[in-house]
Amino acid sequence: MRKPKLSTLIDHAVLIAGSLFMMLPLLMVLQMTTIPDTEIIRTGPSLTIGDQFDDNFTKAMFEASGFSGENTGLSMLKNSMILGMGFAVGKIVIGMMAAYAIVYFRLRFATLAFWLIFTTLLLPLEVRILPSYEVVQWLGMLNTYQGLIIPLIASATATFFFRQFFRSVPEELVEAARIDGAGPVKFFIDILVPLSQTMIAAMFIIMFVYGWNQYLWPTMITTDEDMYTLVRGIKQIVQVLEGAVVPEFGRSNVLALVAVIPPVLVVVFFQSWFVKGLTESDK
């Protein structure tokens, strides 16, 4: 009985293989950040860990690159943070407000508002990307954070999620609060928001990752290099790697790493919230 069974060994072998499939690419990137570019163009990634990480890191984060010379890793990191945070906060605030209005108020046009909002779930940004660009251009919001963030908020995923959650909150809670003399604003702030903490956290993680990882929209909307996000910058990196005599592999691998690490840390550390948010958002 104590002896491990063959089937258990197979289970672990499969899981280890799967984990390696997931991990190896990132480990390769990590290794490549530690060796000089000249070595990379000769041998490519290897198993030796070099001592060039500090150099590559400094180059990537603090030395300007690109045509305008304003584009450092640090400024891209800042832009990515603003996009991820701004998107998550904006989406949650607007979504909670709208969901609260729809679920907790007797409104004549609530059904209409509901349908107007939830139709947006049907079509992703990608299918209206050009006219969206034109609208943003017409509003003079190219190369601005507003232009980057607000159009991405124009879908109702968070609203839908919070609507589902609010509907699952026991009816009697709002009734008890009303008898306790709480009006709609008080109920929202004193009861509903604290009650939604876990949901807000879960939504925040998902939305932060989603915003951080945006690619197509930032590619179109930001042409000033000082507005680039890390993920958008990847395009630049790949193109730069092509033409150069000694391509800056060290630098680009550091940037790729920096583009990956914050969202990965958020997902790994807040795993249970994140999984809960993800799997419950589609019910």
């Binding site: 026991p170 009697e172 809670l173 009734e175 008890a176 609060a177 009303r178 008898i179 306790d180 003399g181 709480a182 008080k186 004193d190 009861i191 604290p194 009650l195 903490q197």
Partner: protein
Amino acid sequence: MAQVQLNNIGKTYPNGFEALHPTTFEIAEGEFCVLVGPSGCGKSTLLRMVAGLEDITAGELQIAGRVVNHIDPADRDIAMVFQNYALYPHMTVRKNIGYGLKNRGISKDEIARKVDEATAMLNLGDYLDRKPSQLSGGQRQRVAMGRAIVRDPALFLFDEPLSNLDAKLRNQMRIEIKALQRRLGVTSIYVTHDQVEAMTMADRIIVMNAGRIEQIGTPAEVYHNPASIFVASFMGAPPMNLLSASAVDGAVKLGDQTICQTQHQGPVTAGIRPEAFVLDATGPFIMDVQIVEELGAHRLLHGTLNDENVTVHIDNEVTAVAGPQRLSVRPEAVCLFNVMDGQRLSCSP
């Protein structure tokens, strides 16, 4: 003085469904009034209308002499205990109980004093800083009570407050709530579907069915003199035996035996409580007993009489076995109902 007065209060939903037919009654100050009926009978709707959580679509509602039809729940001077307690899960016991006072702009010291007073009364003193999830069912129930009494309202409303508790705790809380209400003397309306709760707690029972009041009366009245077949079968466990009988020339006959006298003529339904039958070796009725149910303090005999199912209650010192048993009926305990509309008919022994 009537503390709560309903004048032709009715509720019709926008889709045309009439949840409550116009209803009129009064509840006296300090009275403990229980609304009882099966689910969907309109009792909760009625309670929620009194609370102000549901619009009143017809009639006039007065609480403490004031018409409150269009007054916010918070301003009706009521407190309510909900079926699932509706405690705020993120607040401690102290905050849960004090929340209503805080919203009324009462000073912190005053709130603290009142919360202490209320929790002392409910033996919750040790749990003040716990959250609802750290409390047992009975303790949560008490916190819900605390939230109601701390406000010192003119009227308590209870919406099936004990139905989430197990049987033992339910019996205990039943007594606690009743005792607390007696002590505070606050007028109360208590909604339940459990007729035992209604019988044991009420000063007055209002039996409801399908959006109408079937009967209003003390527990004894409702039990012994049910106004309709519905009340007779709803109140009491096991329920009243309902047997087909016929009235010929003033005499009501069950089989060929006369059980009482009436003015009515033709087929009737005779209602006889299980304990109104007596095992009697010389009795006129023969019951075919199929099952003897042992309940410790007493026994129940289940079987048939003239091919109709009957249940008979006997004391535990009387022995009984399955098979034919002779019975007699206490004539003063017989109720008669109209077979057409189920309403009570007068009769005499």
